[in-house]
């Protein structure tokens, strides 16, 4: 029995391959308010709608939630067989996200190298878009992934 997919091992990723991830996610209070407060983020722009009436007019999604959501939307296809997440870099939040926005994720394989008999390191570039096809997120991620035996 295998609990994880057969096509997300180190050998399966090809340089330059670009993936459009199948699922989108509409952002809701559970996502933004829930995670913001779960992680002790005290900035009330993310959870006080009334305080936002003179600026954005509504609560702004915490960028940390957007980062986690875009990487999450890509996870089954890029990290289901990961042994370890190694790092993130060049993370940029390009457009503000609000409750009701729907996010989608894309991934390009930037580089890969064998590490040992069990694993290899892959560097991905991720993009996040919203329902208006605006780019809300981009960034790179390095992952240690199982090799096939």
């Amino acid at each position: 029995m295998s609990l994880t997919g057969k096509h997300t091992y180190f050998e399966d990723f090809e340089l330059g391959q670009v993936i459009r991830h199948a699922r989108g996610k509409t952002m809701c209070e559970n996502d933004n308010v829930g995670i913001t407060l779960q992680v002790l983020n005290t900035a009330d722009a993310h959870f006080d709608e009334h305080a936002m009436k003179d600026s954005f007019g509504r609560r702004l999604q915490f960028g940390g939630v957007t980062i986690a959501m875009i990487i999450g939307l890509s996870m089954q296809d890029t990290g289901e067989n990961a042994l370890q997440e190694l790092g993130l870099n060049k993370i940029r939040l390009k457009t503000s996200v609000f409750h009701g926005d729907t996010l989608y994720a894309y991934t390009e394989v930037l580089s890969k190298q064998e590490v040992d008999s069990r694993s290899g390191e892959v560097t991905f570039k991720h993009w996040g878009t919203n329902q208006k096809d605006e780019i809300v997120f981009e960034g790179e991620r390095r992952v240690l992934i199982k090799r096939k035996h």
């Binding site: 829930g34 995670i35 913001t36 900035a43 997440e85 790092g87």
Partner: protein
Amino acid sequence: MSEEDFRARAVLAVKGNKFEDFEDGQIYEHHWGRTITDSDNTWFSTQTLSFNPLYFNVAYAKTLGHDKMVVNPLLVFNTVFGMSVEDLSEGGGLFLGVDDCEFIQPLHVGDTLTARSTVVSKRISKSNTEAGIVTWFTEGHNQDGVKVVEFRRTNFVRFRDPQQGGE
């Protein structure tokens, strides 16, 4: 006893810092600390569709050599970030980006995170009269003092005195 309404007598318990409060090299030891529980990790991972069973299947995590479930690194990052917010960015201003984030070693459920940050740089943005740009280096440690994550974060940070900003 005052006859005045409580709202008229109340003094705001101000939170957060402004651009003028940061100096290069200044260190902040952030508040609270946070123990990551099983439910934190499972809920966060499933809520963000972070479908690697390392983060929600303890039997699977054991087959890969872990005694307990591995904490989702995005939860580690977000918790360390979250604890830094009151000192660094609650004063207002958009979060712009993160560079050089390294997950130095895995965290497991039941472990406790603490956070500290150092001011790396601050500068005035020509296009923004209300906020300047500040970069901090933030580090997260576990209960044994072992560093588990580090990253550089850049934000707009609101001026206390808007006169000093912009052109």
